[in-house]
């Protein structure tokens, strides 16, 4: 049997002593796709890390690495657009997503937009937060880590979070690091196509040979060896909590930074005034948000909190009807329906009743009925962990709290989440309740929304796609939003009394671009240092 080659050290080559092989499966047909991909052994990992280290050294020696990196990213974005057809076709087969609009019109443009924003950030250099203290002649900035960054991509965004094209990849590259991509095993073919384009772009723009490398899969212990390798600089991971926590433990034992986006139920608090004013509209909005990508968005609203009463009952009726009327999307793999069913078992065992849905659908695809559950605030507070079990699909649990105190208590028992929403009366009717709940919710979430569902994650410099543990591994970093996401893959480098000609261009008196923002003696400025 022939396996697809891995990309290591500037060459597509057979995996060395692979420990096995796998194929992707078309979730719409449950049929395996034809190509076989190798499961890499430690030999591939070691070779990729050593080559990545050499690439990092070569990047440091380039006369103007940020400009070269920007050219590479721009070139890569153009190649992706040129290969949109095959990319969309492959991704549609591997994920079951609609070729259009989802893949071709939404996710692919988002992906090239992120890549071009990364290029612009590398070129502008302002992300480095260069800080110059001219009196002491101490100067510092954020700079590449000096080794390869490992990126694990999730299954749910084959383009925008792809390990060799998505947000973490762009952030790591734009910050100046080579990347070792570990493909999501749900879409190895899509990832391979991206890797081919990235490698061509790297060659065309004169980047080091191992600027981008690709492995498809490893056994668990080899994955742990990868993230804890002495010469790996850092890891970005998006995926399940169970895999994430194991990688986190391995990396942290070795003192290696690892950034994880793992799980989130994304609570939505609908305050009484909003419920009285427009419960049908909110129910419809919630149903639509929860069904996006068949409920497989990290920001899917999986927990809805309302105050008991007639308005809440009406809302739940509307919501249940909307879910029942929804057409169940195709899930990404066989694990989808199984894991939703397991999550529902936990929720039911702890006092949540299924109002609609609750069962897998046994047609040709992997599907699950859109599901609404209902539980009391008391049930939630009796076992908050259980009632926050994430069901990765079109599932939301409505918590009916007896009063605002109990809504606030529910907020206070939330785990860390990516997002939290508060729906409020369009006038001031909910102001007092907002003031009760919002401060409690605020500390539990990375992004607080008001009268807006969480599923849109704008690529904005002000975005935070992050949040307290266990939504991520650290509350100070975002995985989306350029340039802030670059800071994860950089170290703080300080120069003390270093002679002017030995400073990096970004820290010399003369502004390197004429427009780079630098904090000079306490003032943000685009000017040169006046000598």
């Amino acid at each position: 049997m022939t396996f697809k080659p891995v990309l290591i050290a500037g060459a597509w080559r057979p995996a060395t002593k692979p420990t096995g092989a796998f194929t992707a499966v078309n979730p719409a047909t449950r049929q395996p796709l034809g190509d076989h991909y190798p499961v890499s052994s430690i030999h591939d990992v070691n070779a990729a890390v050593e080559a990545g280290r050499e690439a990092a050294t070569a990047l440091e020696a380039m006369p103007d690495a940020p400009e070269a990196i920007a050219r590479f990213l721009d070139d890569y974005a153009a190649r992706i657009e040129g290969a949109a057809g095959p990319l969309v076709e492959m991704a549609a087969q591997e994920t079951g997503y609609a070729p259009t609009p989802r893949l071709a019109s939404v996710e692919l443009p988002r992906t090239t937009n992120q890549i071009r924003q990364g290029a612009a950030a590398a070129r502008a250099r302002s992300w480095t937060l260069a800080t110059l203290d001219t009196k002491t002649n101490i100067r510092s900035y954020y700079h590449a880590l000096g080794g390869p960054v490992v990126v694990f991509g999730p299954n749910n965004f084959p383009f925008a979070f792809n390990s060799i094209a998505g947000g973490d990849f762009v952030a790591a590259i734009a910050a100046g690091n080579p990347v070792i991509a570990k493909a999501n095993t749900g879409h190895p073919g899509t990832t391979r196509l991206f890797a081919e384009l990235a490698f061509e772009a790297a060659r065309a723009t004169g980047m080091p040979p191992a600027m981008v490398q690709l492995l498809y899969r490893t056994p668990a212990d080899v994955g742990f060896a990868l993230v804890s390798h002495p010469h790996v600089a850092a890891t970005g991971f998006t995926g399940s909590k169970s895999a994430g926590l194991q990688l986190k433990a391995a990396a942290e034992r070795a003192g290696k930074p690892i950034y994880l986006e793992m799980s989130s139920v994304n609570p939505v608090f609908i305050l009484p005034g909003a419920l009285a004013e427009r419960s049908a509209a909110i129910a419809k909005e919630l149903a639509g948000s929860c069904a996006m990508g068949a409920g497989q968005f990290c920001t899917r609203p999986g927990l809805t909190v309302v105050k008991a009463g007639a308005d809440a009952d009406a809302f739940i009726t509307e919501l249940t009807a909307a879910f029942a009327a929804g057409s169940p999307g195709t899930l990404l793999g066989a694990a989808g329906p199984t894991s939703i069913a397991s999550a529902l078992d936990v929720l039911r065992a702890h006092g949540a009743d299924v109002l609609t849905g609750g069962q897998p659908i046994n047609d040709g695809a992997f599907r699950f009925q859109p599901t609404v559950l209902r539980a009391t605030g008391a049930a939630f507070l009796a076992d908050p962990d259980a009632l926050q079990t994430e069901a990765f699909g079109t599932v939301t649990t409505v918590i009916v709290a007896k009063d605002i105190d109990e809504m606030s208590a529910v907020a206070d028992h939330l785990e860390g989440n990516l997002t939290g929403c508060l729906y409020t009366h369009t006038g001031g009717d909910d102001d007092a309740d907002y003031a009760r709940v919002a401060p409690v919710l605020r500390r539990r979430v990375g992004r607080l929304l008001n009268d807006k569902m969480p599923t849109g994650v704008a690529v904005s410099p002000a975005m935070n796609h992050g949040g307290p543990y266990p939504a991520t591994g650290h509350p100070g970093f975002t995985a989306v939003g350029i340039p802030a996401s670059l800071l994860r893959f950089a170290m703080l480098q300080c120069y003390d009394n270093v002679r002017p000609h030995r400073l990096p261009r970004e820290l010399q008196d003369k502004n390197p671009t004429g427009t780079m923002w630098r904090l000079i003696d306490g003032t943000w400025s685009q000017a040169d240092v006046i000598g």
Copy 2:
């Protein structure tokens, strides 16, 4: 026996079910000081954390917490100056440091300076890196963590790094967090005096009762419970690598951020041109730097690297003479001479020869002879870990490399360090060698110095007192330098579509101070948002 009270929940009270007691020892006389301090049990830990959580909630509810915090810090700084006499007297007894200049004229002013810089940073708010995207109406900034921060202070700076007065304390408070201080057990009395002043300042300025709390000591397992407590927000630790790594593991298992400053040998590379030009001057400078605080600075130059030859031999002769002529300072405790002796055993066992010193001094104080060792580059490369064993005293190991390639290889085998220095010819004689060694050293250190010893750590906004693991736990953060050090104790908070009157003042259209720096649509500005 009466134990000194702990400070918990706004009251000085006896420790609850303490597990033991301890006294400080005067290192200059080896005599125990009179006061007995309790070893706290889990009861004190739980009480302090719950009170700290309430304090964090109360802070959030204050109408203008940053201004209130600034007033608190300013008031505290003034109280410290008013109590300088007793503070210096107590610290001198507990550390053996000279009351003047070290404690009264250097460390105390540095401490109050840091506290006032923290006040200014809290008031200015620019540290929050507020980012406004007006087109999408997404706004974010760094904000307090919403729970108490635990601070473990080191033994070597009883004022400037004190757990309830030093850099980590200031950073955590200025960022808006209550602090639970764990005293260094070497100077509990000094820490108690600070805590009394801090608590008085907190009351005088209307802060929550548990804004500052103090425990003296815990058994190891209780310390692990503290840093991993579900309601603790984060931990700052400065101290030994062995204690730090244990706390790191406990905190990270629980998903809690922990910032550690642990160990560093602070390599100094003296390039051939500099050695030829001014070896005697550099030897003298190195001996002076290494002897500061009896060699007990985190940035003490413990590893010196030169190229073999007559200049190197002359330099080593000068250095050895300077060390031999130095008067050995008093070490901070009984562990000082013992741990230096253990470190020397490791160094000697791996090919380092003692040129001067090498023995403890058995007079009334804890002392050790200033010590120079010499080893070859080959010996270093044969076991780089062993040759980087930190000796926390006036000790430096001179590595004599056979050529620049070997100097560069030594740099490439360094662990992460706080600092790295390159001494170079005052003209251009060393430019080529600098270009060889500096890029390798750069990625291994937080602060790169040129023709300057590392022991001065200026409180500059551009300072990085941090570096790659195991110097610290994360290469992106600094423990010294305001406002950057505040970012460790903050989370990224994003507001998406939140109505204007519900935004924190720092993110509203109107600039909250008229001078706060904010990144508005890609431009750093002190202006209001133009509606």
